[in-house]
């Protein structure tokens, strides 16, 4: 079994629809291939939602209580990305405040994008593949 074949089997492995022999082959490949092993771990983080047949029974009231608790403690599950307008205002403010003192610095320092910039613009310049086949292929280490 090669790397491509092994990764193709990740969803079936997760859904437990692969035959025992096939599963054993994949697990054996993962033991000997660090790249596919890592790709499997990346895959495993989104698989509970993308590939599990069922989700554990959630109690709606309990879910809301936990969300409220997280929000109270500042442990929000996710929070909205900064609005572009606020980001612009912040940048403008910084420019006004530090224009004189940073002009020289900025002329030599390399620009550093925010994390959001990185995830949204990381693909620019990349040639899109003709086929956008299953994700597991792309979880290469």
């Amino acid at each position: 079994m090669n790397c491509f074949e092994a990764r193709q089997e990740f969803p079936a492995l997760w859904r437990k629809t692969a035959t025992p022999e096939r599963s054993a082959e994949v697990y054996s490949h993962l033991k000997g291939c660090a790249k596919c092993d890592h790709a499997f771990r990346v895959f495993a983080l989104s698989a509970p939602v993308l590939h599990s047949a069922v989700e554990p029974e959630r109690n709606a009231a309990e879910f809301r209580r936990r969300v409220a608790y997280r929000a109270q403690r500042g442990l929000s599950v996710t929070r909205p990305a900064r609005e572009p307008r606020r980001l612009l205002a912040m940048c403008a403010g910084m420019m006004v405040l530090f224009a004189a003192s940073t002009a020289a610095y900025l002329s030599v320092a390399a620009p550093i994008g925010s994390y959001t910039d990185e995830i949204t613009n990381s693909d620019s310049g990349y040639e899109f593949p003709v086929d956008t086949a299953p994700t597991s292929n792309d979880f290469a280490g």
């Binding site: 983080l45 698989a47 939602v49 993308l50 709606a60 809301r64 599950v77 995830i119 956008t132």
Partner: protein, 210 residues
Amino acid sequence: MLGLAASRKIAWSLTAKPDEELIAEVLGGDSAAFNELSSRHRPRVERLCQRFFSDPEIARDLAQEGFIRAYTALRTYRAEMPFGGWLRSIVINLCYDELRRRKRRPEELVGDFGAPEVQWMHLVNEASPENIVGDAEERQEAHDLAHRLLDTLRPEDRMVMVLKESEEMSVAEIASILGWSEAKVKIRAFRARQALRKQAERMLAVGRRR
């Protein structure tokens, strides 16, 4: 005794009826036949909604709304397409509208994870793949983290990710249901995969640190 056997027989004959027959009965005025149609398709529809929304109430409401819309639009249903596929396209568009309504831009993955979530990330880093697969199902935090990961995607990227990966739909099918070009589906799928992988790598790094 005879009554029970008879009711079982009736129940069996109802479940054995093809969707098209039930639809004809609904259109003929027997609205009870729609109950049978909905209970037949409900598990799949609810699971689809759960892949978009971690809040069980939202997922249930959307599934319910999907059935209501299907009921009211039943006269427009054409048998060339299986009823399940027609219903699914209604629910997909409902979920997409709701995703866009709730979140117009992607969300940052906040690094403040709870103890069970960190434990899960640690396990994903350290355990054998067999144990990861075995443990994930019963762990609520595995599902919570996966939702957090998917919440970082733009609504259109999440749509494509779920439809391709979970529903195993083709690019052409997705394009047709969402009214997009196939090129747009491919681009969104590509970007979604890249973004998701990046965020997952970040989560794995958190699991390694703790």
